[in-house]
């Protein structure tokens, strides 16, 4: 057993209101620079939808992530052989137009336009070329387009559904959407790290944050291809790739990352997970339908004396172990089994887990008649407006049983709380729901509390950084890590 600690995350999708505050918080701190305008280390997309960059989930196009190869895994579109062969031109690299061309407006024209019959306008100009442009796409171009032909119906996850099921999903009365905020997952088996020919990417041992050393990146641009979540971005101005740093300077000083801190819906949780690094390869190469369980299995019980002993031997600080014991992520993922990884079939073992949205399940269509009165307050989860197969394609590599299980647990908590606060449900109905998922009232109340009432300190249990041992704190971060976003020691010009 090789016990390591990992800063992990949970996003509760039922609570996300799609306000994009998180994206803006991130942009203002990290990516408000030339060459990084198009980057959204944190983005919030609408599901069903095509996402950012367009159709990023479709690995037939982008060749990201790992594929199963016997007892192990190999990179789909990069790696030692493929990477060095394609180094002069990477056939799977997304280009600017797959994201969007960033622009601004010529606001000055509003003031300087000569007097005339027409209103002066501020024309858009490209932030790449500086020339006038017709805007084709932008950040969140498909925001809220949950039923649209151009976006929602192009969602890659629909491929798993039969045409009839797809039609049913897009009936006017059933149409629905939810938001999917995404950041780098700081994976346990990061494809980006594995793909980098010059070894510029690395995972920090102490907390598992994945970073790109800007001094060692040589623009071989393989990580952009390899990351199946498209969370490594190429800065066309500096000739270096950049990615989410999980606000490590904030984490080291005990603050939550900016997107977490600013989240209006309070959907975000952050905490430590202890895991067994020896089992990464086995978990990453499990068969599709067992992937989620295989991944969840490698996270260890931080109360188990044997785990604690091994963690100490490995140099995990006691304060980190305590943080792991209080981790809200551990509760959501391991104890309550409510959160699932996004697209586990990419086999990177992502450390960002999602509590799926319990979308309106009240109405259904029977014999062509839309019926919003149901026997019970909520219909069964099977009549969820988004088919379980769709959610399974997002969160469990197609294992619908696993999604249904999570939805039933979420439903049980709701029924229980409805019983407590309003009391208009029969206790039989509640106990049937609770018993089906083996949940007791205390657990349901604890879930409710952490979901709805949690304070800042309950949502973010940040392990203290150990100043006495951590080099970044003793020396100037920019000098030591060669990382991005702190401003530059050198003029961020391309080459010489």
């Amino acid at each position: 057993m090789d016990v390591r600690s990992q800063v992990s995350m949970v996003f509760h999708l039922d609570k996300c209101i799609g306000c994009h505050t998180c994206s803006i918080a991130c942009k203002n701190i990290w990516t408000d620079r030339k060459g990084a305008e198009y980057m959204w280390w944190n983005n919030v997309e609408t599901k069903p939808g095509t996402g950012y960059p367009t159709k990023w989930e479709n690995q037939d196009i982008y060749k990201g992530g790992w594929e199963k190869n016997g007892d192990s895994v190999s990179l789909k579109g990069a790696g030692k052989f493929k990477g060095l062969k394609n180094i002069f031109h990477n056939p799977h690299l997304p280009v600017l137009d797959d994201y969007y061309e960033p622009w601004t407006y010529k606001y000055q024209d509003l003031f300087t336009a000569p007097e005339g019959d027409d209103q002066p306008t501020a024309r858009p100009v490209s932030l790449v070329t500086g020339e006038h442009m017709d805007i084709q796409a932008g950040p969140n171009w498909d925001d809220d387009m949950g039923g649209s032909v151009d976006y929602a119906r192009q969602d890659v996850n629909l491929d798993k559904l039969t045409p009839a099921e797809q039609e049913a999903m897009f009936q006017l009365e059933r149409m629905t959407f939810h938001y999917l905020p995404r950041i780098c997952n700081h994976c346990l088996n990061p494809a980006c790290v594995a793909s980098c020919p010059s070894g510029a990417l690395y995972k920090r041992g102490e907390d598992g944050i994945v970073l790109i050393n800007q001094e060692r990146c040589r623009a071989w641009r393989m990580c952009v291809t390899a990351c199946p979540y498209k969370k490594s971005y190429y800065n066309w101005n500096t000739g270096k790739s950049e990615k989410c740093v999980l606000c490590y300077p904030r984490l080291e000083s005990g603050q939550a990352p900016a997107c977490f801190h600013s989240c209006v819906g309070r959907i975000r949780y952050l905490g430590v997970m202890l895991y067994d690094a020896d089992r990464i390869e086995a978990a990453a190469s499990a068969p599709d339908d067992q992937l989620v369980n295989a991944q969840l299995d490698i996270y260890l019980d931080p109360f188990d004396p044997e785990v604690i002993k091994q963690a100490r031997l490995n140099g995990v600080a006691d304060s980190t172990i305590t943080a792991a014991q209080n981790s809200p992520v551990y509760k959501f993922v391991k104890i309550w089994k409510l959160a699932l990884p996004l697209h586990p079939e990419f086999r990177t073992l992502p450390n960002l887990f999602y509590v799926p949205a319990l979308l309106p399940t009240m109405a259904n269509v029977a014999n062509g008649v839309y019926n919003s009165t149901s026997k019970s307050l909520w219909n069964g989860v099977e009549s969820n407006r988004l088919p379980m197969k769709y959610l399974a394609s997002l969160f469990t590599a197609g294992n619908t049983g696993k999604v249904v299980e999570v939805m039933k647990r979420l439903m049980a908590v709701r029924l229980h709380r409805r019983g407590v606060t309003v009391g208009d449900l029969s206790s039989a109905e509640i106990s049937v729901a609770m018993n089906e998922v083996h949940m007791d009232a205390d657990t349901a109340d604890a879930i409710f509390r952490l979901t709805a009432l949690a304070t800042f300190d309950e949502r973010f249990v940040i392990p203290p950084a150990h100043r006495e041992e951590s080099i970044e704190m003793l020396e100037n971060t920019a000098d030591v890590k060669g990382n991005t976003g702190f401003g530059f020691k050198e003029k961020p010009a391309r080459g010489l």
Binding site: L84, T129, P197, L201, R216, R221, F488, K489, L496
Partner: protein, 241 residues
């Protein structure tokens, strides 16, 4: 005198600048060492330019290297005319590949607005010198047949004399071929330009990727060692920092 400047002074100046400049840039201006890919802004035309250009250069580079290091092997190979022809035609085709590539790359720089934005002054120098180098090389191959054979007699001794610090330029100076002289001069200029241009990127070709493990985990401080050892001073700064 001119010959002395061009075939002795220039090579030594270039090699010195190359050595000192590249090491300095690598160590102190690491951020600028990059292939500064522009594929993100334009991908299609790059494919048709970059692939033939790089593969062409790749083969030519090793061809020159082998001729320099093992001239006898090349001469022995060329003992039969068929083999000589095969070698010469293959080398010439890769030269044409490189020329085609560089022309397409220049065309791309001229026609794609986005790529123009990221084209620096030094990139212009890069393309001029590459054009000179490749065209003069092709001219030499065409007019002064068969290069693979006389290379050993003329150039190898000259190059070797440069590297052993005992420059012998009589043979070179007496050669009556402008293209050959241009080819040599531009080659040494190119070497001298490496630290000041994007040429630096081929010095950092990532061979070590072949033997390193896929995943890289870096501890800021090897806590495990510190905790289990009796010494207070044990533990070292990780190399990636």
């Amino acid at each position: 005198m001119t010959n002395y400047l061009l075939f002795v002074a220039l090579p030594y100046a270039s090699l010195a600048i190359f050595l000192v400049g590249s090491i300095y840039r690598y160590l102190n201006r690491g951020f600028s060492v990059s292939s500064v890919s522009s594929q993100f802004l334009e991908g299609r035309k790059l494919f048709w330019g970059s692939q033939p250009f790089h593969w062409g250069l790749f083969v030519l580079f090793f061809g020159h290297l082998i001729a320099f290091l093992f001239p006898r092997a090349i001469i022995a190979w060329n003992g039969q005319p068929v083999r000589l022809l095969i070698l010469e035609i293959a080398a010439f085709s890769f030269g044409l590949c490189a020329l085609l590539g560089v022309v397409l790359l220049i065309n791309r720089r001229l026609t794609s607005r986005r790529v123009q934005i990221v084209t620096s002054k030094m990139d212009v120098v890069v393309y001029l010198i590459l054009l000179t180098q490749i065209i003069s090389g092709l001219l030499v191959a065409y007019h002064n047949r068969w290069g693979s054979s006389w290379f050993a007699a003329f150039l190898t001794p000259y190059l070797r004399s440069i590297f052993v610090l005992d420059p012998q330029i009589d043979a070179i100076a007496s050669v009556n071929s402008l293209s050959l002289k241009v080819h040599i001069i531009s080659a040494f200029s190119l070497v001298g330009l490496i630290p000041f241009t994007r040429f630096i990127h081929f010095l950092v070709y990532p061979v070590d990727y072949l033997w390193r493990s896929y995943q890289q985990v870096i501890w800021n401080w090897p806590r495990k060692h510190i905790r289990t050892s009796r010494s207070h001073s044990e533990g070292h700064k990780s190399l990636n920092n």
